[in-house]
């Protein structure tokens, strides 16, 4: 079977899932099986088919599993968001369409994605500028003490960091492609630690420093962890030097310690992480209420969950509505998923993410040039780390910080940016698998 036919068949589970999911929610809502659920399923299937045909004509050799995996996750996301808030689900579906359009545009305009290397300094500056936007007066938007978004006309909040992550990965992949050789050759041992030559490592350090400073200013630890992890991943794959990673981690630990002790918002997050069920923290403003209730929601889910649409998200009888689980459609969506489909469903979602990362790294391994390898590695790593940061936060593996769950969480920038990320991975994959 050809790669594209495999992709076509792999889309069947996605369309079944979205239809079954909407059906489940509708049955729960009204006890009447409305044909709206089937309409949603049909529209979704049509969009997937159109995208599939587009890939068939433009990227004949690309990995056949990445798009279906993204479609499964996105369809699951639309159902989950619909179940939480129907209006937001409609917006999410619109963003989904915009994401697919941008996906197509990326593939058409950057068919030879190596052209991106030429604009790497522009890309990195734009990415850094995007990071600063939320802190600017009038356009910036702060949530829970972190400056995460930009307010667009029409009341839409947009998270530019979602695009910055792609830009920074492109820059790092391109820059390290050039300098990785010299970095390894010129490395010297200082106090028993192998360090790269400052001259070539300098720009990377500057990017790191600027990103850190901005993130300290933005109070966005989640994105910082994600970017920094991607930086180390690309650095490691480019240089094969574990010592660089160790030094990098030590530097990060130092930074994290500084942030944890000096920025009140982050100190609070850290304390909530350690003692989420402490009475005082639970009732403190911006305390552990959200984290603790996320864990309670997961506990109530058990092995099989309470069923689609069954999760209790608000406290009944409160006017205005008080959330039992704050931010259920964004930060805490993993807790809602675990609550409704249980450990098994949540594990299935995590495995879908892991398979996506696997296919991304596979494209990197198959790629024939360094830039493609580093680009695919960086994109796959930043995607996987994003999942780890938010799910790890909700499950209390690490302190909770607000990043979106790719393709699933409500959020326009997240959906659109991740489709661009998917387009780039497919471009790398197509070139890598094209018979020479």
């Amino acid at each position: 079977m050809s790669a594209r036919n495999r992709e076509l068949f792999a889309l069947v589970p996605a369309s079944l899932l979205v239809t079954a999911g909407f059906t489940g929610v509708f049955i729960q809502r009204s006890n009447v099986l409305s044909n709206v659920s089937l309409t949603y399923g049909a529209i979704f299937l049509a969009l997937c088919l159109a995208t599939h045909l587009f890939i068939r004509f433009t990227l004949r050799h690309a990995d056949p599993y990445m798009f279906p995996l993204a479609a499964v996750l996105a369809s699951f996301g639309v159902v989950m968001v619909y179940r939480i808030d129907a209006t937001e689900a409609r917006q999410q579906a619109q963003w989904f369409v915009l994401g697919l359009l941008l996906f197509g545009a990326t593939i058409i305009f950057f068919r030879d994605y190596r052209r991106l290397e030429r604009y790497r300094y522009i890309i990195v500056l734009v990415s850094l500028a995007l990071l600063v936007l939320p802190r600017l007066p009038h356009v910036g938007y702060a949530a829970n003490g972190a400056y995460l978004g930009v307010r667009l006309p029409g009341g839409i909040v947009f998270q530019p960091t979602e695009f910055s992550k792609i830009g920074l990965v492109i820059f790092l992949a391109s820059y390290l492609r050039d300098t990785r050789q010299v970095m390894v050759m010129g490395a010297r041992r200082i106090l028993g630690v192998t360090l790269p030559p400052l001259k070539h490592f300098g720009p990377v350090l500057v990017i790191w420093g600027v990103a850190m400073v901005i993130l300290v200013a933005l109070h966005d630890v989640g994105s910082s962890l994600m970017f920094y992890g991607a930086l180390l991943a690309i650095l490691y794959v480019a240089t094969a030097r574990l010592s660089f990673v160790v030094v990098g981690l030590a530097a990060f630990a130092l930074g994290a310690w500084f942030l944890g002790t000096h920025v009140a918002h982050i100190t609070g997050r850290f304390e909530s992480w350690l003692h989420p069920f402490q009475y005082r923290l639970y009732h403190a403003p911006l305390g552990s209420y959200q984290l603790a209730n996320g864990i309670f929601a997961q506990a109530a889910g058990g092995l099989f969950g309470q069923g689609f649409g069954q999760s209790v998200l608000t406290i009944p009888g409160t006017h205005p509505v008080a959330y039992l689980l704050p931010a259920p459609e964004t930060d805490m969506i993993y807790a809602v998923i675990t609550n409704e489909v249980g450990l098994f469903g949540a594990t299935a979602v995590l495995i879908a993410y892991l398979l996506f990362v696997y296919r991304g790294l596979k494209a990197a391994a198959l790629a024939r040039d360094s830039f493609s390898k580093l680009l695919a590695t960086g994109l796959a790593a930043v995607f996987g780390l994003q999942v780890f940061v938010i799910v790890g936060g909700v499950t209390r593996v690490i302190p909770l910080t607000g990043v979106t769950l790719p393709f699933i969480s409500y959020g326009g920038a997240s959906i659109v940016a991740n489709f661009v990320l998917l387009a780039l991975l497919l471009l790398v994959s197509d070139r890598a698998r094209r018979p020479s």
Partner: protein, 474 residues
């Protein structure tokens, strides 16, 4: 570079493994501890969203039902309020408190009694509980309340054949729609199952049963009814110190002659008396379907208020035999005594619920009449019943006479309570009717009456309640 990519993937696999392990920790390993964490309000909210079943009287009167309280939640409404508040109780899910049937029959009312409901609960949307049918009779309850007329006291009526509770009313009562409203005189205490009163002469039914069933006496055995006699080294007198001379046991019961029954009990001995008390259900919590904390057992206590171990040689068995000597009983226990005699010596397990019916009208649970204790031989029961008939016909219980030729077996009691000289009494009446085909067994008592007698105060209430129940064909 591919080796590094493979290692990088290995690291990501490990990270995702951590996520799965932690998810498992919350959903499975720590789940039950988290579900019961005091900060966790999920269970409470889930409870609020359950539409609990109704509680119904025997004639279908709705005693308790769920009404929407906004946000998909429900609260309970009790249309009969204080008339049924003691047995029905209340369920305030928000406060996490419940009482009465609302508490003891919570599993049925929440719909957890059948496996099918809980398996399909998540798919079926709204969780709806089962209706609980009770044997309570609204008219008998109302007549009981009328009879007590605001005096603290209690009325318990049982169907002796099944153990079904027909009436259970105590004064003062409370409005179970507002269970937290302050009220005086322990209004939420269900005196029917938790009142602690000396039973007075009604206990002579137990003594008479022990005397006859043990084979040591017959209803015509003759005992000297002089007054006073020395019991446990202290003189014991009849009412007004009246001497009766040599009389048989039937006469001694008809006129409630203290000295006769005290001597009989002393002659039977503590072990025999204790054994019969146990058979009637004393010393044990009656197995009625109310929460364990709301039902009290009946037993003698020392003057310091400590319970005697059953059969203790320190018990003043002669005075216990006439319902004094520190004996403290509940009205329910005394209704059970009458019920055992009525049902040929077979004491049935008392119960309020008769059936649980699901929302589709299917009976999902039926409470079948169950023997609690075989108290005495059938012949003993017949003889004791005949002796009790005399009490109503010509003795102390004549105010209870039902008229219209329905024979009523009964026994009065008037225990003196409180400091001597204040003249406070605890009037009682227990009995059953009709004698040849007993359908109702009853116990009535009034708390701290100012000089009232069992015959004058309690017997008329018993009469009107029994008449009501018999008129309804109970």
């Amino acid at each position: 570079m591919n080796a590094q990519i493979v290692r990088l993937f290995g690291l990501i696999v490990v990270l995702f493994g951590l996520l799965i392990v932690w998810t498992t920790r919350w959903t499975v390993i720590d789940a039950s501890a988290l579900n019961s964490n005091p900060l966790n309000s999920r269970a409470l909210i889930a409870q609020l969203r359950v539409k609990r079943g109704r509680i119904l009287a025997a004639d279908g009167t709705v005693l308790a039902r769920s009404v929407p309280a906004g946000g998909g939640t429900f609260s309970r409404s009790y249309s009969q309020g204080s008339l049924f508040a003691q047995p029905v109780g209340y369920a305030d899910v928000r406060e996490g408190s419940a009482a009465g049937l609302e508490r003891s029959r919570g599993p049925e009312l929440r719909g957890l009694s059948t496996g099918l409901t809980s398996i399909f609960g998540p798919l079926g949307g709204q969780q709806v509980g089962d209706d609980v049918d009770t044997s309570l009779d609204p008219r008998a309850q109302a007549v009981a309340r009328e009879g007590l007329a605001g005096r603290p006291g209690s009325v318990v009526a049982l169907d002796p054949r099944t153990g079904a509770v027909l009436a259970m009313y105590s004064d003062p009562s409370y409005d179970d729609n507002r269970p937290k409203a302050p009220c005086s005189d322990a209004c939420q205490l269900d005196r029917a199952t938790q009142g602690r009163y000396p039973p007075g002469s009604t206990f002579k039914i137990v003594t008479a049963t022990a005397a006859i069933d043990s084979g040591r006496y017959t209803p015509s055995s003759v005992v000297d009814g002089r007054s006073p006699v020395t019991i446990s080294g202290v003189p014991l007198a009849n009412d007004n110190d009246q001497p009766f001379g040599d009389i048989d046991l039937t006469t001694a019961l008809t006129y409630s002659v203290n000295t006769v029954w005290a001597q009989v009990a002393v002659a039977l001995g503590t072990p025999t008396m204790t054994s019969y008390m146990r058979r009637f259900g004393f010393y044990a919590t009656p197995p009625i379907d109310l929460p364990p904390g709301e039902v009290r057992s009946s037993y003698p206590v020392s003057s310091q208020g400590r319970a005697y171990p059953p059969g203790s040689p320190n018990e003043d068995i002669g005075r216990i035999a006439i319902g004094q000597g520190g004996l403290e009983v509940t009205p329910l226990q005394m209704a059970m005594v009458a019920s055992a005699v009525a049902n040929g010596g077979r004491l049935m397990r008392p119960h309020l619920m008769t059936r649980a019916i699901d929302q589709d009208g299917r009976t999902v649970k039926t409470v079948t009449p169950t023997l609690y204790h075989q108290v005495m031989q059938r012949s003993t029961a017949q003889q004791v019943a005949q002796m009790m008939e005399k009490v109503v016909d010509e003795g102390t219980g004549t105010p209870a006479q039902l008229g219209s030729g329905i024979p009523f077996a009964g026994k009065t009691g008037t225990a003196s309570v409180g400091p001597t000289g204040e003249g406070l009494t605890q009037p009682w009446f227990i009995g059953f009717a009709p004698i040849d085909d007993p359908q109702v067994a009853i116990a009535v008592t009034i708390e701290r009456s100012e000089g009232g007698f069992g015959g004058t105060v309690a017997a008329p209430i018993a009469k009107s309640v029994v008449q009501t129940l018999l008129a309804e064909g109970k």
